[in-house]
């Protein structure tokens, strides 16, 4: 048993190193389109895992992901932009004091982005103590929209609806996937701990959970804060990937995109989330090329704007009607299942050999 455990651990380490080496290789040798795709995949993985923690494992449905991502993205964007760039890009009003002078390196900005988003997540999670179900999702939706509208209306802090431009592009594949792996591991550890059991208990039945001594407010808030921290980091990565942020990026559509991925993968499965995020990223980029107008063999192809959103809306409806379990349901990837599969494969091969 102990041997198995060590083997599993070793395999995990090898897999992580493998992924990281792949990202370094991909950055150098793949074309821009593929690199962008793998970037978005990683960022979606962080967003989906954190959504699964709140909805899949704790049972609190939140529509605040778009607003929280915006907080992370804007914080990191404002911290990494140079003061000169800010003076140029703030057209409506000059930047206010602390923002006009700061410039931080990437890593501390990312951390602060995460922490600040966690604080906002605390504020957004607090209503979960009072309201449930429909009311909670509307409350979180309201918070998310308030954040977006504030970004549009405070020109001195975030340049209003024009957004920020010229953000240094610090994000690379290694950062994105490193942080995605950390998110998955941290979430998995949390879910498997005694805290995680308490969270599942809350999901199944709040009254029963309280009766057996689970501290409802502590655990709910913890889930929100924990997940918001990673959402903020994903936002920061996004800002430093795109080089621009604008309030229109953080419309409720973003929250629904995350929900689509989570439902597709299975809301209680982190593995499913990773797979679904990949499918979503690929489909999304492919549909984007179909959407955009261009010339094919001299014929003007006008493009089909809205096709992407329409496809995903239909997909979400079909999923929720016929495939609510998602790809993975509540099962996770584990080395043990790989072992048994490999054993079965070899066993079969052996027996096949005997027959021949």
């Amino acid at each position: 048993m102990e041997k198995r455990k060590n083997l599993r651990r070793a395999l995990s380490v090898v897999a992580v190193i493998g992924v990281m080496l792949f990202t370094v290789w991909a950055e150098r040798h793949m074309d821009a389109f593929q690199v962008r795709l793998i970037h978005m995949w990683g960022i979606y993985v962080i967003l989906v895992s954190s959504f699964n923690l709140i909805y899949g494992f704790t049972g609190q449905f939140s529509l605040a992901h778009a607003g929280l991502t915006a907080i992370g993205a804007y914080t990191v964007a404002l911290l990494t932009l140079s003061p000169e760039a800010k003076q140029v890009s703030f057209m409506l009003a000059p930047p206010v004091w602390p923002i006009s002078v700061v410039q931080w390196p990437f890593v501390p900005s990312l951390l602060l982005g995460g922490l600040l988003t966690a604080v906002v997540g605390f504020v957004i999670g607090a209503p979960a103590l009072r309201v449930h179900g429909d009311y909670l999702l509307i409350t979180t939706f309201g918070f998310s929209e308030i954040i977006r509208l504030l970004l549009c209306n405070v020109p001195g802090v975030c340049n209003g609806a024009m957004g920020l431009k010229g953000i240094p592009k610090n994000t690379n594949l290694a950062w994105v996937w490193g942080l995605a792996i950390i998110t998955i591991f941290a979430t998995k550890r949390l879910v498997d701990s005694s805290y995680g059991r308490a969270l599942r208990c809350i999901r199944e039945d709040e009254i029963a959970a309280e009766a057996v001594g689970v501290n409802l407010s502590f655990h709910k808030i913890m889930a929100f804060v924990f997940s918001s921290f990673f959402v903020g980091i994903a936002g920061g990565l996004l800002a430093n990937l795109l080089g621009t942020v604008a309030p229109s990026t953080f419309k409720p559509d973003l929250s629904y995109a995350v929900i689509t991925m989570a439902v597709l993968g299975g809301v209680q499965s982190l593995t499913g989330g990773v797979v679904a995020a990949g499918i979503y990223a690929i489909t999304s980029e492919l549909l984007r090329t179909i959407e955009s107008p261009r010339q094919i063999f001299g014929i003007n192809y006008p493009g089909m704007p809205g096709l992407r959103a329409l496809t995903f809306a239909v997909l979400l409806l079909l999923l929720i009607l016929f495939y609510r379990r998602g790809l993975m349901g509540a099962t996770e990837f584990s080395w043990d299942s790989v072992f048994s599969r490999v054993q079965r494969l070899f066993g079969k091969a052996k027996s096949g050999g005997e027959e021949a």
């Binding site: 449905f61 209503p127 009072r130 309201v131 179900g133 429909d134 009311y135 999702l137 509307i138 409350t139 309201g142 918070f143 929209e145 308030i146 509208l149 504030l150 549009c152 209306n153 559509d253 629904y256 929900i259 439902v263 089909m304 704007p305 809205g306 096709l307 959103a309 329409l310 995903f312 809306a313 239909v314 979400l316 409806l317 929720i320 009607l321 609510r324």
Partner: protein, 297 residues
């Protein structure tokens, strides 16, 4: 601020409020009967506006014929959505919300794909463009038209809900679904009827709204839909008088905010959302303190 300005703002506020109230009624009827936040309501509104525009511009129909046809088609769209997306999910809470949201996105983006997202002028009847002068106060005819039509529709609704058999069945289902079923009420019929009512009101609201703000795009329904929803929550979602009062108050409050504190105009949506959150947190029953039917597990 002079008195005539105040009267004008008041008239605008009442007009906006009555449109919010009309749309809010659509939300509240559905919530009262099915316990579903129909996120696609604003998009039924948009569909009605689009079809009316089409009827007038493409088919050359007079506006009232176009409006009636558009309403009929919108009702069919609503019933179709109910049959396909809402009915199978009625028992699963969060899923039904996601289903409704998907319907909303499908409608919006269907129109974006096939009719582009540009906004087009809405062909409203010309007599609405005139302005009436009462001494120093000038009020556009469209404002008065909105108030009159809303008043008639409210009376009609209260007649349907309180005096007809179907209305009684609706109230029964909203109070206690199982008891109503035991009394021989067919919930599917009642729910279908409430969707007919709700989409009809959305269609009327769309016509009035687009006469006042004469542009149509696939996203026309989003803002009025959300505002009306906030109005419905303020009044107490599930209650028809609540939707009326909530919608009116929100419309008036918005116009008065713009009138008295013009510097905060950009913040008016933020205030609306704040009101929504505060009501949900501290008075989920709304102004009328509506008691929500407990779902039996």
């Amino acid at each position: 601020m002079t008195f005539d300005f105040f009267v004008q703002y008041l008239a605008n506020g009442i007009a906006l409020g009555s449109m919010y109230a009309l749309i809010a009624i659509g939300y509240t009827i559905i919530y009262g009967v099915v316990r579903l936040i129909n996120m696609a309501h604003g998009d039924f509104f948009m569909v009605a506006a689009f079809l009316t525009m089409w009827g007038v511009l493409r088919l050359g129909l007079p506006w009232y014929v176009a409006f009636v046809l558009a309403t009929v088609v919108t009702v069919c769209v609503g019933l179709l959505a109910e049959r396909i997306a809402y009915r199978p999910l009625r028992k699963v809470k969060i899923s039904s919300f996601i289903g409704a949201t998907s319907v909303s996105f499908i409608l919006q983006n269907f129109f974006v794909v096939f009719f582009t997202s540009r906004s087009k002028p809405f062909p409203h009847p010309e007599f609405l463009d005139r302005v009436l002068k009462f001494g120093t106060v000038s009020i556009p005819v469209v404002t008065l038209f909105i108030m009159a039509v809303s008043a008639i529709l409210f009376l009609l609704l209260s007649y349907i809900v309180t005096r007809t058999k179907m209305g009684r069945a609706m109230r029964a289902v909203s109070k206690d679904l199982e008891a109503a079923m035991m009394m021989g009420v067919d919930p599917d019929r009642v729910i279908a009827f409430s969707f007919i009512l709700s989409t009809t009101f959305a269609s009327a609201g769309a016509f009035l709204w687009c006469s006042r703000f004469p542009f149509v795009s696939p996203f026309t329904g989003v803002v009025p839909g959300l505002k009306a929803f906030i109005g419905a929550v303020m009044g107490g979602i599930g209650s028809i008088p609540g939707a009326l009062v909530g919608g009116f108050l929100l419309g008036l409050a918005e116009i008065m905010l713009v009138a008295f504190l013009p510097s905060l105009t950009g913040f008016r949506d933020i205030f609306a959302y704040l009101l929504l959150i505060l009501f949900l947190l501290f008075r989920p029953g709304g102004i009328f303190n509506v008691k929500v039917r407990e779902e039996k597990v």
